[in-house]
Symmetry: D2
Subunit: 341 residues, 4 copies
């Protein structure tokens, strides 16, 4: 396996630049072959010092650049549909950052295009599935020793929200991770959503409904509750407790070095998702490179990306209406039969 997989990276912003660094310095078996960004200077900066990389303003040009064998899409969500469909046409494997396609109509077009090919090409960037703790929980639930899962209690907290973050984004940007994680952990589709809104924190920007308590029902009769609080002020915390018939399991506790000094016994809390999930991103991209080099496609599918978009849209409607909102999914193509991979 001496040949390195040539990857075109679309998007050279925060996330794209991080993936370029990861492909170059951490991941075994791949190299950056092309990069595309409307801001050409940013694209050039992101690949400074790398050899054999072509730089493009047009994502499709990057797909067609010399040496490109696979695509990593890290541009903003609304820009994903076109290169996904283009990659399908070219038969190129794709790792596409979440959200796959933010609006569910576009997401369904991607599902239908891939289903039309009759084989998977896309892996969606739900990196929690590659986190060691989430995998341990998944494995425990699948093992069945605790019986059927009845409830998931989830927490999703950020230090502060970036400028322009809206109440809807608590659901379609933040909680979208829990939407995928819940579907994957349970192997069930989400069927309804309700959003409860306590009086907002006075530390949240004016007008932002933060925190929220988001409640999902599933087609297996389970309940999922998510506290999402993006201006909690103290850290990045992602926790999940699965309550089963004969036991419960918790992940995501803050567990680092225990320091005892004046003021008590103290453990650091991660400040940023790139810290908390750094290993998950590394494993995700390595797994994608490994599978791609072996001609396989694994991991979260375009259907997972589509379902996540539909649920998030229902969540935003539920936030607005204050009531319970049903989730309506299109029929699932056979290509995506197995939900609990």
């Amino acid at each position: 396996m001496a040949e390195l997989l040539g990857v075109a990276v679309l998007g050279a912003g925060h996330m794209g630049a991080d993936h370029i660094r990861r492909l170059d310095q951490l991941v075994s078996g791949a190299r950056v072959a092309a990069v595309a960004d409307p801001d050409l200077d940013r694209a050039k900066d992101a690949v400074a010092g790398l050899d054999g990389v072509t730089v493009h303003a047009d994502p499709l040009a990057a797909l067609d650049a010399p040496g490109v064998e696979a695509v990593l899409i890290a541009s903003p969500g609304p820009a994903h549909e076109e290169p996904l469909l283009a990659a399908f046409e070219r038969g190129l494997p794709v790792l596409c950052e979440k959200p796959m396609v933010p609006d569910s109509t576009g997401a369904l077009r991607v599902v239908e295009a891939e289903a039309g090919l009759g084989r998977r090409l896309a892996q969606i960037g739900f990196m929690r599935r590659y986190d060691a703790e989430y995998r341990r929980l998944k494995s425990l639930l699948d093992g069945g020793g605790l019986g059927r899962p009845l409830m998931l209690h989830c927490t999703h907290r950020n230090v502060s929200s970036p400028p322009g973050f809206t109440s809807a984004m608590l659901i379609n940007s933040s909680v979208s991770h829990e939407i995928d994680a819940a579907r994957w952990l349970l192997g069930q589709e989400l069927t309804a959503v309700t959003v409860l809104r306590p009086r907002p924190s006075s530390d949240a920007p004016e007008g932002l409904l933060d925190p929220q308590l988001v409640l999902f029902e599933t087609d297996g009769g389970a309940l999922v509750d998510v506290e999402v609080f993006v201006n909690c002020g103290f850290g990045y915390q992602v926790r999940c407790e699965a309550v089963c018939e004969r036991g419960s399991a918790r992940i995501g506790e803050d567990r680092t070095m225990l320091v005892t000094s004046a003021g008590g016994a103290r453990e650091e809390v991660a400040q940023d998702y790139l810290v908390r999930f750094a290993d998950a991103y590394d494993r995700e991209v390595q797994a994608w490179v490994d599978a791609t080099r072996q001609g396989r496609v694994t991991g979260p599918s375009a259907w997972d990306g589509y379902a996540s978009s539909v649920v998030a849209e229902a969540g935003v409607r539920a936030l607005e209406s204050g009531g319970r909102t049903a989730v309506e999914l299109a029929p699932r193509p056979d290509l995506y039969a197995d939900l609990s991979r």
Copy 2:
């Protein structure tokens, strides 16, 4: 303070017998002066070996027995109203186990009778207010260092439910503790309740809706969610996380001796509320005896007992309807002005 407070204990069942033992063997400054139970043999058994105790079938006779200066009511809830009113007539301080009076109409009569006296005589047995961890949390919230509380996440689990336990009792017997604890911790009244019902555990008795997720709204704009699961199979767990504007605090983690052996690192989980809250019961009764001997009445009031009954009734209606149910309280008499004692 050489004289011991003479206490009439009403009810000699599980709880009554435990309080008799506590008054005799653990609590300083009190003695059991009389005991009443319709089952006279049970009453006699409960005070075997104690001197100077009279035994009665009729609770009111126990109130009038020689040496009785205070009353501890530990009979079944529906039997509480009569002796409460009788104690008020006699000016006797009362410690009344929860529920004060299960139906809110009767509970309101007790409130009005005490308010008519113009002074408090009753303390209601919400013993969590005397638990060291709950007090620490209350003190932290009152200190204000974490800002305003936004949400409480609560867990209430039992190994298994006793025979005859109904779906409504998950709310009016189990969650009633969280109802009081939430009101006390937040210093706010609960204004609405919604009950979500996942598919029941297959280990729960046929027909029992177990677990449930109970959601309360408060007049201060906070949210309280309670997982109640009375056939969890593994232990008695009562946890609470308060999420505030600038931090969160958790109590009720399982924390005993850490044993590491084949199978992993392990900590025992309490099996029974009398184990988990043994100290709280001791402190509650000691505090009541101490206050009574000094002519004072402290702790949870008849209003707290009334409000708990009203909220629990609304919760049972919400369980049946599946929808959000408003809580309607009578006007609060001035006697009970301060909710956050």
Copy 3:
């Protein structure tokens, strides 16, 4: 059991006053009948507001005061021998604070006097034996499920040492608790001691060898190491890990409410032994009162007090010499046959 046990308390300093409060307000079944202190004003202050207490400068006068049925000795260690022997002469049960008698020659005289009576009258105040965590550990070790104990790792830390605290006192005052706890947990005698001295903390008073690492060997082949650090600056920490053939068990971790806020996840550390072991003191005195009223003597014996003094003396010699020092105990009278009560 209506009659309260009349107790003479010797010593009205910090510890004596605390025991007076405990007997009066917390312990069931006892009352303070007499108090003695060379400083009569201090004695009077300590019993202000209590009825039926006589106040004495002479401890022996307190033993003979009206209503005295038992004695609690809380005066300084060197003053213990005389009232212990006097109590034995009068057949009075005694609870004697540690050290029973600081010099081992005097301690042996107490052992011999009690052994001469042919029955136990003294309980020594090693209160850790009444701490819930220590009892859990003792019970686990006695159960044998983890096999034979091989090592105990102990930590004993204080915020700061009081004025006049000497290097020897780290052993004969602080570590004396671990000496008794190790003997009790293991049911073995300590046979040798070595003291290692790292370079002292710059926060320790000039000339104080603080911290120290004290190593004990036992007649059962176990090892006990104790870190003693009395100017650690941050809290009062007493921990113990028992390493057995098939597992280990730890107690004394800092475990209170978990508060997460800017700066990390934090738990309070107790600042004072009266906080950490408040319950142990309460249980100790209650157990002594209960046993005494039933005509029994239980708990740590005069032999335990003697053995502790001998080991502590050997420890101080080991500190001075830098080498391994053997512990030489007198033959154990039959009265004290069972070490592992």
Copy 4:
């Protein structure tokens, strides 16, 4: 940086095969160019499926194979000296597994040879320096916020010892990790060692002195105690608590998913060092590849390998003699001036 670093791996046993897999599949920027093992079949098996690798029985032949730019030595310790000196002659950077050279005389020859070159070529495989928790602790100690370190309490436990494991190997194989970690964390040399031997566990093989308590003194006046217990039966545990003047810090607690079910709250314990330190090995080799490609040598030095051998030899003598044994190091060449890298 398109060119991959060509590495010769010496030794194709358990550890060598693991490093070959790591270089091929996980590490970015390197490839296996040659492999040597006296057992040629084993060497061939270890590189099955890899392109461009030559296979050798003689390690020096592997050093001279085409494309070899660096060497990773994973053969048994006694076979390390020759290829280390040969790599120095050829100017090849080396990553050498621990022990660098087991006997201190040979180790000193390696130090002198490298010092003679006037520049570092060797990095020694003390992988704990690359473990995230150890690095956090090192960074905390170096920051100085807790004051000067006074003691390290270390635990090193294995499920069971492999066949042929001797009492001396508890020190020179197991504790050698703590020897390096202590030197690195403290930035101090170890000056004396004492070994205490409790009665062995009955689960240890006949004649094996297991567990042991190993005590080190340092030239900075700190103390290091290590419990080493290689037949603890339950897991692989490596813990370290640093006690400083103004606080303590602990790493290596067992912290995974918390599962609560019948029997209590439970966390898994790692069973194997390749699990506990998998990330550390990955980071170590990646760091070595990265530095080598940039023409730099970092990480633990030949001096660290030498000092570790000297201290381990003193430890084995201390185990045999039962007494305190001084550690005598040769003068440190200037090349290794900075101990606290």
